[in-house]
Amino acid sequence: MSAFDAGPTLDPTRPLIAAGNLRRRRRMDLLMRGVATAAAGVAVAILLIVIVTVAGKGASQLSISFLVKDPSVGIGAVGGGIASAIVGTGLIVALATVMALPVGVLIAIYLTEFSTPRTARPIRLVLDLLNGMPSIVIGVFVYGLLIEGHQQAGWAGSFALSIIMVPLVARATGEMLQLVPRELREASHALGISRWRTIVGIVLPSSLGGILTGTVLAIARAAGETAPLLFTSSIFSNSTTVNIFGTALPNIPYLIFQDSESAFPADHARAWGAALVLIVFILIGNLGARAMLARQRRKIVSL
């Protein structure tokens, strides 16, 4: 009996207010929650500061002629635009997408439809390692593979970017394929439809939106990569060219890099304008893809 009485005595008439230890705990709680909220605020503030700076500095450059004219010839020359770089980046990234999209989608199909746990593991590892590969290392690799002893060429840059894109496309596609309900595949098999027709005719179409958004995100990432193009497509003339297999193509990221290192105000101005064009493209791509992805997820899940 007495053993039960030994515990802390509770006074039922005591008012329920925070006192002593509890007050300290609550203060600590408030403090740490404030710190976490402030941290999120810092991240958002940095993003906004970067975007506002680029927009503020770049907007004064932006005009129709900036978009349709080639850069003026000569170091520090005033005027001109970035048309050649826009065309070059468009071509390089387009070719990179053509190379990366089929490979990425096929790998995702293998992982979700055909692999066994034993074969899936090493391939997932390969994708993760490729994903973690610094882009400058990929640039050095492609230089050694394709450029060393030859001339720089736009398609080599595309190849380098495609190495960056494959793991991104494969992961986005894989996530979507996994969302396609099992019953859909089983129903198709039960009707006697072969595996490849099921995949090509039913599984892929129902996850098409997800694959597209994943591809858009990969394109947005590739479009801003500088390091892979540094050694593959950085020695170019100022004029617009589409000869992606013959010469290096001017491109936006390298133009920004080069002009940002320059001492001439005109070069800096061009770099800000190019940065604004690039960042607008990337933000639109990201926001659009995100919105599409959310819609697509809902659609597949409700299937």
Binding site: R26, M28, D29, L31, M32, V35, A36, T37, A38, A39, A40, V42, A43, V44, I46, L47, V50, V54, G104, L106, I107, Y110, P122, I123, V126, D128, L129, G132, M133, P134, S135, I136, V137, G139, V140, F141, Y143, G144, E148, I163, V166, P167, G192, R197, G224, E225, T226, A227, L230, P253, I256, F257, S260, H268, A271, A275, L278, I279, L283, R290
Partner: protein, 330 residues
């Protein structure tokens, strides 16, 4: 009746052949694609090592700590054609450490906010914004760092550190240009931050609701619940997220080149100029002489090895902790 019902009609032999062939072709193609990706990874290793073979045979492992980097070719110059990556490895380590010291706690705090504290709508807005920070190209962050962040740090943070802690050689006088190791480290922090925040948010969300509610029901405050239940049970995941952020910082070349200034002496001050493995590659590759090209390839090999090791370590941590949690929870 000449037409049989479709269900009874046997598949034509061509259709059956097409089915069997199609299955084979699709499986073959998917395996081929997987092998291509694997081959590229293997090829990267082979190509970089073969490119570096001249430097490896000439300098050996001492390349890792020797600090001479002399591309001069004329015979009379002392140490002409001698290369070592000591300063570069040092610069890489220091800038990444600064990045991680800043981005680690900040990123984890953001992860906590997004997964456990943010009211629904705020979280839905701020989460994607933080991820957008990761989408800003490094060349733009670097340009911004060069023009705005560097001068800002030079005028505010660097003098403050120098005034208070100036007796430690680490905190020398502010860099007159605003560039330097410290600025580059802060820029790297901005790049690692969204990665750490996004990964920690996801792992914190995966903590079972019953555990969190249980802690709250026992009378702990929100912070005590976060510290005792969420942070404590996800230590491995937090470590992995930090390592992946580190991996981003170690390999970045462009933004570091733009903000770290020129010159590569191992100085005492954090505010001095420097160079990293990545920035040296971005500045000098492919170089002029055979030995220099090879030495630069050697730098890329070192980066590759570091990255592979760091990524494998993160994987290992995640797998081991998943294994352990699997044993405990279910």
């Amino acid at each position: 009746m000449t037409t049989a019902s479709p269900a009874a009609a046997p598949l034509s032999s061509t259709r059956r052949l097409a089915d069997r062939l199609g299955d084979r072709v699709l499986v073959g193609l998917t395996i081929l694609a997987s092998l291509v990706a694997t081959a590229v990874l293997v090829l990267i290793v082979i190509k970089l090592v073969s490119g570096a073979s001249l430097a490896i045979s000439r300098f050996g492992l001492s390349f890792l700590w020797h600090s001479t980097w002399n591309p001069a070719t004329s015979v009379g110059v002392r140490n002409a054609g001698v290369f070592g990556a000591g300063t570069l490895i040092f610069g890489t380590a220091v800038t990444s450490t600064i990045g991680l010291v800043v981005a680690g706690p900040l990123g984890i705090a953001i992860g906590v906010y997004l997964s456990l504290l943010a009211p629904g709508r705020a979280g839905a807005l701020i989460g994607p914004l933080v991820e957008l920070l990761a989408a800003v190209p490094s060349v733009i962050i670097g340009f911004w760092g060069l023009i705005f962040l560097g001068p800002f740090l030079k005028n505010t943070i660097e003098p403050a550190f120098h005034d208070v802690l100036g007796f430690i050689p680490l905190f020398g006088p502010p860099n007159p240009t605003g560039d330097g190791i410290f600025t580059a480290g802060i820029v790297l922090a901005l790049m690692a931050l969204p990665i750490i925040a996004a990964i920690t948010r996801d792992i914190f969300l995966s903590v079972p609701r019953e555990l969190k509610d249980g802690a709250l029901a026992l009378g702990s405050t929100r912070w005590e619940m976060i510290r005792g239940v969420v942070l404590d049970s996800q230590r491995a995941g937090i470590a992995a997220a930090t390592i992946l952020g580190l991996s981003r910082a170690l390999g970045e070349a462009i933004a570091v080149t733009q903000t770290i200034g020129t010159g590569s002496l191992i100085g005492n001050s954090l505010f001095g100029n420097g160079d990293t493995l990545g920035s040296r590659l971005a500045e000098q590759f492919p170089g002029t002489t055979n030995v220099q090209v090879s030495a630069l390839f050697f730098c890329a090999v070192i980066l590759l090895v570091i990255e592979l090791a760091v990524n494998l370590a993160a994987q290992l941590i995640v797998r081991r902790s998943a294994h352990r949690q699997g044993l405990v929870a279910r």
